[in-house]
Symmetry: C2
């Protein structure tokens, strides 16, 4: 008998709108604010973001139409992506649970980040900008935006956290192949960068610092616009394409998740998968569990829920977030995309309202990578270091079901592939 | 308007049989032979191959049913894979030609090699073998078989051409992650390996040498079976899944190729795409053109059509092939998978019968990689170094159409992705 564990969504059934959770949140999202001192960051937003993006950031409509050109590019980038029933992993674990994973790793650049990169580059181009600037941590976001800018005919400058860029030369080159101008951050191109380099010429950098550099860059160039790969409302909006597709796919097999899992750094892949399911829980009061997999080096959901800056140099407005503090020094790990001091405002609000559980994994990453190895050897796909956390959490849940006998339906997101980051696996698992 | 350039084949429409061209060839394929001297290689085949594989090697049926478990694993590995109309590349080239590429790069290990790896591992398991041994050149084949052996629960030993293994550490580790035992070839594990190492301790190796090592390995272990990733009839048989899917996909958009293109080393990806279309040309006498893209370091289709060994140490039977000679020293290039001294017997016979044109690209690879860069920047996908040759040939054809005004339909295969081989792009295009 042929078992079809791959749940394809026909292209014509790809969602035509993104889902905006803002009007459906249990209580209104606390707005961004200016700090008591210094220039107005809120007023500066108009200089650094495109108009459409700012409108989406505070949109009131529950559904926002995906422009046709963005839909074309989603299809070009391989959407809709498959949902896969992990039958082989289930057998290996001998669990009564049903495991499903969304295959965002089937992406031209290796991750889910293309979903918002395409949208942001599209609006920038539409509004006449010639260049974008951004930061990147693990490198997945920079690559995704380099891809989108290449396809849409925009220049791109990428400020890449030095700690990650130094061991990911191949990803550096991929961004260059797409035509992007990439520099290690802190760089000598900005005031904030030069200041940090003066303190320490080998400063490892951090996402918050790189954000500051990119914002400073575009603030002085009218033809350039800033782009952020996570955290903000519009980014999560674009990423809902993941969960919206997944809901349709689960309907095709007449199933619905009891547990929705993903790793969480800034929150874009976690939010992308989960937000359309949060909608049901908020509206219908069902008991779906939402589980965020984090590293103990940056357990931001365990942080205080308060107003904080998004970047190191305090160039962003204050956002109400679960935060470790915007100047927290975060230890390097292979799952570099999880190293951010705060969770997206939307995710933070949902956490504060009691909708999200967290699972914190140890910083040596061996537990996580060993579980990921089990996935590789049964399902055959090589996940990104960040996705290993989603897998580890899903396996933990499945093993709990084995003990309890519960036949839970567990959904998780494999947000990227690890072909460019084998070094991570090799180091953690001490391969040759 | 939404343009759907991605032609998905529903899973339920995936072909249920492979197509065996042997009975449809213009004249019977010259059989393998023993050399005049030495032990019988033909008799030894029973010691090194599984029974099912040997039966398929000389099968007389035109269609051979794909076993259900193999079909399951094909689906697990992401089949059917999309066929993509390269509208964005067409626009960039300003050509009246229609370009389609088969997206074999959407593969768990990065290439089309999984198609035969799954089948070969399945038959080995079914016949009670516990271990497989193989050689690999570019590393794509070794990774594919490591994947298949992992999913089917078999051990694997990989002899990897040292010239390639030395600059592809990440792929080395990926094979290990799947659980394979990988060594650089020539190795000290076999007589032939030790002999070559004695001559030169840093011997760069070659596919022919690695084949000799793997054959010697399994010849002395009853529980082990040999597996070859290209050249032989059964490998091309399994790879016809590529072309069979593609034909169905082209029917869905009511089109048919005037030109079928792929790169050619041993011939498995070229054959996989083209053989189902050869069938039509042989049977109906249509004028579809078949174009093999090769490197000037190994233009085996321009070689003599005669009986030759498949390996350096003369352990294989003699096969009638277009060959450069089985001891030809082949200069290293980034497209390592194209470095084989001879073309598959089936492909060689079709070439000798006048059905195949060849396009030979210069060994510095810049011409090829520059054209591939154009593909990356328009279509967004990162091809394997070998696939860059397919792209270069397709672009050359499309530009000819621009000059002649012909609206040809050009089909090509992107047999793998280049995420693990960015070093190749970086070296050839002198990226930072």
């Amino acid at each position: 008998m042929v078992h079809n564990n791959t749940i394809q969504l026909p292209v014509e059934d790809m969602p035509t709108s993104w889902y905006n959770i803002l009007p459906d949140l249990p209580s209104p999202l606390p707005p961004p604010m200016d700090p008591e001192e210094g220039p107005s960051r809120l007023k500066n937003l108009g200089n650094i973001f495109s108009k459409n993006i700012l409108m989406q950031e505070a949109a009131e409509d529950k559904y926002i139409t995906i422009p046709d050109e963005v839909r074309d590019l989603y299809i070009q980038s391989g959407r809709p992506r498959p949902l896969i029933r992990a039958k082989r992993l289930e057998n290996e674990l001998n669990t009564p649970a049903k495991l499903y994973y969304k295959a965002e790793f089937y992406s031209p650049t290796g991750s889910h980040k293309v979903n918002t990169a395409i949208a942001q580059a599209y609006y920038a181009k539409k509004e006449g900008y010639e260049r974008m600037a951004t930061e990147t941590g693990a490198g997945q976001w920079g690559t995704a935006l380099a891809y989108a800018c290449s396809l849409l005919g925009l220049e791109l400058t990428v400020y890449w956290v030095r700690a990650a860029s130094s061991w990911k030369a191949e990803r550096f080159r991929l961004m260059q192949l797409y035509g992007a101008d990439v520099c290690a951050s802190p760089s000598d191109r900005t005031e904030v960068g030069r200041k940090m380099l003066k303190e320490d010429p080998n400063h490892p950098g951090g996402l918050g610092i790189a954000i500051s550099e990119a914002i400073e860059d575009v603030s002085t160039d009218e033809k350039a616009v800033y782009s952020l790969g996570s955290v903000l409302n519009h980014v999560l909006l674009h990423q809902t394409i993941i969960g919206l597709e997944t809901k349709k796919q689960m309907e095709l097999v007449d199933d619905y998740p009891d547990v929705v899992i993903s790793c969480l750094g800034g929150g874009s892949n976690f939010g992308g998968l989960s937000i359309p399911f949060f909608k049901d829980r908020i509206k219908n009061g069902n008991d779906t569990k939402f589980l965020a997999a984090q590293s103990e080096v940056a357990p931001n959901l365990k942080g205080e829920y308060r107003y904080d800056f998004g970047d190191y140099a305090e160039q962003t407005p204050l956002l109400k977030m679960c935060t470790l503090g915007h100047r927290e020094q975060i230890q390097p790990i292979k799952g570099d995309g999880l190293r951010y001091h705060a969770a997206a405002p939307i995710i933070s609000a949902l956490k504060a309202a009691g909708y999200i559980d967290t699972l914190i994994f140890p910083s040596d990453e061996e537990y996580v990578f060993q579980r990921a190895k089990k996935f590789v050897q049964t399902e055959g796909f090589l996940p990104a270091a960040e996705s290993n956390y989603s897998i580890a959490a899903a396996i933990d849940e499945a093993l709990e079901c084995k003990n309890s006998g519960e036949e839970k339906t567990i959904l998780f997101n494999i947000s990227g592939h690890g072909f460019m980051d084998m070094h991570g696996f090799a180091d953690v698992l001490e391969l040759q």
